[in-house]
Each structure stands twice: as structure tokens, then as C-alpha cells.
Amino acid sequence: MNTHQTNFVRTSMLEQSTPPVLDKGYIAWIRKNLLATPLDAVLTIIALLALAWLLPPAIKWLFIDASWTGGGRGVCATAAQGGSQPEGWSGACWAFVGAKFDVFMFGRYPIDERWRPMLVGILFVALLVPILIPKLPYKGLNAILLFGVLPIVSFFILIGGVLGLPYVETPLWGGLMVTLILSFVGIAVSLPLGIILALGRRSTMPVIRLLCTFFIEIVRGIPLITVLFMASVMLPLFLPQGMTVDKFLRAVIGVSLFASAYMAEVVRGGLQAIPKGQAEGADSLGLSYWQKMRLIVLPQALKLVIPGIVNTFIGLFKDTSLVSIIGMFDLLGIVRQNFSDANWASPVTPLSGLVFAGFVFWLFCFGMSRYSGFMERRLDKGHKR
């Protein structure tokens, strides 16, 4: 008995044929992503025209025409403005940024003592990096060192007056150093304070709840600049004669209180998202209020609101630039102060300095938001609905 042969079924595979020219490679990509519909084609052309109009002058200004070296305003000014550049020249003055780089970083901190902020910076990075890498152990110890020990040690290193270090008063502090100190202290204070305020707002005790709600709503309703004004002009009125608070400390208090009100609302959002059963379960196990919050509710709630917390941190970091209005020299303040330096003043100096400061701020904020995205994905245990 021979097997039944069906002639209409092919027994060998066909050679793969190449896809149509229009459906492969970059042509297909362009057709799909840039020219899918007539409207898309028009939009693409408009966008390309806008890029062609914006990008070449920007690159030319930032890099090609920029003056990179030089010891004074001459390299950044045209002949008519008293410089060496040809008429009609305009380019970034990176020589200005280069010459002032140390000032932008440390402000008027004495030059011989600048190893001190650098040392603090190294300690900070050495403690920050391991806490950011999830795989490394000893997180608890690391956190205590970073948030508990480092601020105290850094304070004494920076201000001096002990161990033979010369005293450096806070009005001499400035630049990126001040921005980072303000934001670090603000972050370290506002998170715990915000958690306490959020718990207070959800407390069953009416007095506590009312007080926390009042504080949060008032602070959130007014601009930071009024809070800073309060800290700088009203705080001295509130204290008895002879008792003064350092201007730097006043700014730190203002920024921290402001950020903690926003933090409280973020944390409250997380607390509300935790089902009541969790707290009731903790109650039925006989945990105390603080044990319940610390062990059961807060770990879940904080994990939910990591993006919001980091957004508040980023907002705080950006808001520290406002202290320049009340006469402190953070990064933005010191950059602006140097516009009027007669040795460097030229039409392009302000823009160059601002582009530099903007780039530094952007780097930190962008880094924070990227890290928060990374943590969010890592902590996502698939409970999302």
C-alpha cells in the first residue's frame, strides 16, 4: 500500500523573498515615522525648517564663534565695544566661565581654605553613591552617616573655628556649594517633617489635625519668596533682643519649611492609597501607633509616591535659586553678581554665564528625575493594577 500523494501540497520551503523596497530599512522608517499622513509630512517639514533656523545659529554661538580662552573682556567684545573681535561678532564667552569657575563653585570662600568644601564634597559623594546603588549592603549605617553624621562634620569643617581651622563666616559662602548645602539640608529636613505633617493631617485628634492642615494650606498658598522674606525680615522681630539667627540658617529654615508642606501633601496622597485593612491588621496585631506607621503603612505609602517625592526634591533644588533675591549668593546669585565685573562685562557675558548656570541646574535635576524613574521600576513589584 503506497501512501496517498497530494500533489497540490508543496514539499519544499520557498526561498524567502526580500521585502518591497519601500517597506524596509530607513525608507520604511521615514515613511512610517515622518510621512505617514499628509499632515505628518507638513509637520515634519515645518519642524525641519524650525530646526534649520534655530540649530545652526545656536551651535555657531555656543561652540564655533565662542571664545574659549583669554584673560579679560577683550576676547568677548567687538572692536567697537573695546575688544578684539570683528564687528558684528557674537559668541559665547566661555573664557569668562573658565576664569570665574572657582568663584561659581565656592563663592568668596577664602582661596587657601577651598580644600575644605572640596573635602566635604568628596565625603558627600563617597556616602551618596553607595546609598544610591541598591545592591550595596549596610544601607542603615550609610543613611545615618549621610544624614546624621555628615551634616555635623561638614558644618564644622566648613565654618571652622575648631581644630585650628580658620573661621569662615557664612556670608563668604557662595556658589554651587551654597545651592547644594541648601538643597541637601532642605531635603534631609523636609522629608521627615513632611511625613510628620501628613500623619498629623490624618490624625484623629482634631487639634493636631487642624494645626497641620492650617500650616500646610497656608504655606502652599503663598509664594516661596514671601516665606523667605518672612524668614529674613520677620524672624529678627520675633526673637528677643540680642538673639540673632544667621542669615544662611534663616534661608535654610525658610526653604525647609516651605518644602515640607509640599512633601506633606505628596505623602498624604500615598497614605490615602493604602487600604484601611493594612492599618487595621496592624492594630489587631497589637502594634503601637508608631510601630504601625513605621513598619506597615509608611513603607508601602512612600514607595507609591517616590515620583512625587523626587519631584518635590527637584522643585526644592530649583527653588534654592530664590535665595539670591534676599541677598545670598547661590550659584545663580554669584553668576549674576559677576556680570558687573568690569574686567569681564560685555554684551555676551550675561548669556554665557546663564547658559552655564542653567546647564549645571539642568544636570542635577535631570539626574534626579532619571534616578527616580530607575527606582520606580526597581521597586515596582507588580502590584500595580
Partner: protein, 397 residues
């Protein structure tokens, strides 16, 4: 045996048991908090009154009637240096409102365009929108203000070499000059016509909706409304003999003459707030549109609804529900950020208040005025938006 020893019997309670009652403990905690707070406020008040006495500053709001003695750069109401401090604050308040409203409108437009752009299937548009958002979201607004103020507007040419823009506008380092409309007698009829057109459009679209619900026939609402809104005022304009003329700025030998000018302070604040806030609004819009489940638009397509109508009738109304609450807080943020005006000397509420504070030393009064005004603005905006939100919210049974 051991159980008996540890279990307290009902008769002989331990002495501290009343403290273990959570209710009583709560009352004690609250009483202690209240006591501490009162003591603290008392201490602060005593210090303050003593400090004020020593500095010879009379407390109270009487100083508002004093002569201000300083000029403001831009004012919506009549003001001179002979006006009172109170009037200076009112000028500042109106300037705050002006820049906030202008900024909110522009930021909303840019934000919606960029937010929709980020969702575009066009790769180039999506990437450009992303770059915009990532750049402006991560830079302090104060820096953006200075970027415009001392980076761009300050290096524009002198008034005698003003850069001409379309529509008879000129820009130079003193600000933007634009044609000033002059309203002659008869122009009030145009305003009247506009009001009538608006009322008429509302009534017509209501009637059209009712008609559609009854008969299924859709009237050409869009064209009728456009015709009413544009045609009626235009007709009145010609009927009353063209009462509106424009005072056009003219480039003279040394300066521009005529027209209205907005200063670089307002321009840089307005541009910075718009661009900065737009990046946040863009993210809110993107999240809102992506928050509408895909099944909704698929269902609309399955019913045979055209793509344009699907967007307008199915996706947008649901997305607005997600967008509105965070949008409100962005509007409030913009209003609060307008206080950065003080950094460049635009005379807003905080800036004029700061000047008065320096002149009179009435720190508590000025700060209290700031707090009351900003809180009122915040609370009233959130009330309006809550009402709007409640109207838009999903009605669940």
C-alpha cells in the same frame, strides 16, 4: 497560677490605667500641644511688641495712607509718586493679575500643543516636544527670567535701531511697542454687538443640541457661531463709521513715537513663566490623554465614529477629567511664581510691597497683606476649579 498573677482583675486596676485609655491620652496630647503653641505665640508676640517699640515702628495699617514717593514702571490704573502706599499695593496687585492671566493663557496654549506633540506618531515632533519638556522642566524659573531679561532683551538694539516686527510692532531694549487702539464714540456699540453675539451663540448652540436630541438633525453650529461672533461686531464697526483707529508706533530718528509699550520686565517675566509652566502642562496633558483607555477609542471606531469626532467626543472629554485638577495647581503655581518679578523689578504685589517694606519697616503688615492676597487668590481659584471639576467629573451610580 501564673495566669492569675499577670491578669489584672476588674477590682484593683493598676494606678496608671487611665493613661492607657487612648481617648484620654489623645486629650492630654492635644492639651499639651495647645499649651505649647499658646506659650510660643505669647513669647513671639511679647518679643515683637518689644522690638517694635524699640525700633519706634507703630503697628497697624495706618501707614497705607502715607505718600508712596516712588514710581512704578507699569501701571494699569492711574498712579504717581504722590499716590498712597495703599494705591501702590493695588497697582502691584493688578500687575500680578495681568502677568498671571497672560502667562496662563500662553502657557496653556504652548502646553497643550507640546503635550499633544509628545504623543504624535511623527517621530520628529515627538522628540522635539520631549526635548522642550526636559529642558524647561529642569531649569529654575528664576534663571529663565534672567535668561530673557539680561540674556536676550537687554542685548537688543537701542530704540533708534528698533527691530521691526509684523503688524507695525517694534522691539528694542526698552520693550515691545505695538499699535494702541483708540476708541472713539460709537465703539461701545461694537462691544454691545459682541455681547449680543456671544449670548446669541450660546442660545443657538443650546437650541441646536435640543433639536438634535429630538430629531437627530445636526445644524451647522460652528459656522453660525463663527459668523455671529465675527460678523456682527464687524458689521457694527462699519455701520457706526469705523470708530476704532490705531495709534501706530513710528520709528523716529532717536526714539519710537506713538503706540503702546510694554517694558522688558513684563516681557521677560511673561515669557519665562509661560515657557516654564508650559513644560509642566505638557506633561499633564500627555498623562491625561494616555489615561483614557484604548478601549474607548476602539469602541468609538467600532461604532463607525470618524477619528476626528472620536477625539472630540470620546477622548477629550474623558482626558479633561484627568487633566483639570493638576492643571489648576499649575495655574496657581504660575500665579505664585509671578512673585519672582521682584528679581527684575516688575512692579507686582511682592515687588511694590518690598519697596514699601524697605521704606516704612512695616514688615508684619506687608507680609500679612501678601499672605492674605495670595491665599485668597489660591482659594478662589481652587473653588472655581473644583466647581468646574465637579461639573466634568464622572457621574457614578
Amino acid at each position: 497560677m501564673s495566669i492569675d498573677a499577670t491578669t489584672p482583675s476588674g477590682k484593683d486596676k493598676p494606678a496608671g490605667s487611665i493613661l492607657n485609655d487612648p481617648k484620654i491620652r489623645g486629650i492630654i496630647y492635644q492639651a499639651v500641644t495647645l499649651l505649647l503653641l499658646v506659650a510660643f505665640i505669647y513669647w513671639v508676640a511679647m518679643n515683637t511688641s518689644e522690638n517694635l517699640k524699640r525700633a519706634n515702628i507703630a503697628s497697624g495699617y495706618g501707614f497705607l495712607n502715607g505718600r508712596a514717593g516712588f514710581d512704578v514702571g507699569q501701571s494699569l490704573i492711574a498712579y504717581s509718586s504722590d499716590s498712597t502706599y495703599g494705591r501702590a499695593l493695588v497697582v502691584g496687585f493688578f500687575n500680578t493679575i495681568l502677568v498671571a492671566v497672560a502667562g496662563i493663557i500662553t502657557a496653556t496654549i504652548i502646553g497643550f500643543l507640546v503635550g499633544i506633540g509628545r504623543l504624535s506618531k511623527n517621530w520628529l515632533i515627538a522628540k522635539l516636544s520631549m526635548v522642550y519638556v526636559e529642558v524647561f522642566r529642569n531649569i529654575p524659573p528664576l534663571l529663565v527670567i534672567f535668561f530673557w531679561y539680561s540674556g536676550v532683551l537687554a542685548v537688543l538694539p537701542q530704540p533708534k535701531e528698533s527691530v521691526a516686527l509684523p503688524l507695525n510692532m517694534y522691539i528694542n531694549n526698552r520693550g515691545l511697542a505695538f499699535p494702541k487702539p483708540i476708541f472713539d464714540s460709537g465703539s461701545q456699540f461694537i462691544l454691545l454687538a459682541l455681547v449680543i453675539a456671544v449670548i446669541g451663540s450660546i442660545l443657538f448652540s443650546r437650541y441646536a443640541n435640543k433639536k438634535q436630541a429630538e430629531t437627530g438633525q445636526r445644524m451647522p453650529v460652528l459656522w453660525t457661531v463663527l459668523g455671529l461672533l465675527i460678523g456682527l461686531p464687524l458689521l457694527t464697526y462699519f455701520a457706526t463709521g469705523m470708530p476704532i483707529s490705531f495709534d501706530v508706533p513710528v520709528a523716529g530718528k532717536f526714539n519710537l513715537t506713538g503706540g503702546s509699550v510694554v517694558g522688558p520686565e513684563f516681557l521677560s517675566l511673561f515669557l519665562a513663566l509661560s515657557f516654564y509652566t508650559a513644560s509642566f502642562i505638557a506633561e499633564i496633558v500627555r498623562a491625561g490623554i494616555r489615561g483614557v483607555s484604548h478601549g474607548q477609542s476602539e469602541a468609538a471606531h467600532a461604532l463607525g465614529v470618524r477619528p476626528g469626532l472620536t477625539t472630540r467626543l470620546v477622548v477629550v472629554p474623558q482626558a479633561m477629567r484627568i487633566i483639570i485638577p493638576p492643571l489648576t495647581s499649575q495655574y496657581l503655581n504660575l500665579t505664585k511664581n509671578s512673585s519672582l518679578a521682584i528679581a527684575i523689578g516688575y512692579s507686582d504685589l511682592v515687588s511694590t510691597g518690598g519697596t514699601i517694606l524697605n521704606q516704612t519697616g512695616q514688615a508684619i503688615e506687608i507680609v500679612s497683606i501678601w499672605i492674605v492676597v495670595y491665599l485668597t487668590l489660591s482659594l478662589s481659584t481652587s473653588l472655581i476649579m473644583n466647581w468646574f471639576n465637579a461639573k466634568m467629573a464622572l457621574v457614578e451610580r
